[in-house]
Subunit: 145 residues, 2 copies
DNA sequence: ATTCTTGCAAAAGATTTGCAAACAA
DNA sequence: TTGTTTGCAAATCTTTTGCAAGAAT
């Protein structure tokens, strides 16, 4: 990822933290940066192990607290719809996920017409749709052989 | 639900159990029947509490084991994409769910054109789509006031 | 100076497992 | 009779919480 992009993301984070009277800490920044660096959507455990390499003293509880804070600030989202642990995603714009039935990996995919098509699927009877969650289950390139 | 339908479901269960050398027990039947009776998608805990009224000696572990076995037999499915505990659903045909952001309830909804529309959303690059999971988040009739 | 965050350990909630006795085939 | 299932308790896994010390504003 380009440097400008990272700086821009950091600014957004700072703004959102300020708006809530929250502080910026090295642990929080590290968790945030890691989410921004990886292509996939890691579990809290994975974030912990990764950030630990830079900040050996960090605890798993701190990682959980920070992930929750990031979601609260709207700079990350939690993908709880898996079988095991929750995954975290730095994107908050509308997109969907693929989940490999072989290795369990979760990845993004975008669809230009997606939202429009989903709107056509919406039910009527009294339910007000606020958001869509779409996950494609199948096999990734590696696992399909 | 009509009696014939219940009997038909039981037959399917029996067939699938036999095919796997599994046994039919009163606990297993009770768990299965409860799933077939309710309109919503209960958690293991709820199934446990309900079945306990008929079989006071049943344990939560047994309920978990049976729910897993039913999924394994293809006569129920597990809806793990929530924030808290998993939900179980006796339907295995293709349909979708609504999840209320207010009360957390999960319900079915069918869509005639759904599958066709979803196919149009599918990504290309090396991912083989086996199934779709679509959940609509919003507010049910009760919670939207 | 004040408020927030950290790290630790303990707690909590959901689910799984080991095992001897009970049950279904 | 043989293999499966049950019920119990203990174990496991993920996530949350209480709290005193440390860091950010």
């Amino acid at each position: 990822m380009r440097k400008e992009k990272r700086a821009e993301q950091r600014e957004t984070l700072r703004r959102e933290l300020d708006a809530r009277g929250a502080h910026m800490t090295s642990q929080r920044a590290a968790v945030f940066d890691y989410l921004g660096q990886v292509e996939h959507h890691p579990s809290a455990e994975e974030v912990y192990l990764a950030v630990k390499r830079k900040l050996p003293k960090i605890s798993l509880a701190t990682v959980y607290k920070n992930l929750e804070k990031l979601v609260e600030c709207g700079v990350a989202s939690k993908l709880s719809y898996g079988d095991a642990s929750a995954r975290y995603d730095i994107r908050t714009d509308h997109h969907y996920h693929t989940r490999c039935l072989g290795c369990g990996s979760v990845h993004d995919f975008d669809s230009a017409q997606g939202l429009e098509l989903l709107r056509q699927i919406a039910p009527a009877d009294g339910f007000t749709v606020k958001d869509y969650r779409l996950e494609l289950l199948g096999h990734c390139r590696k696992c399909s052989r």
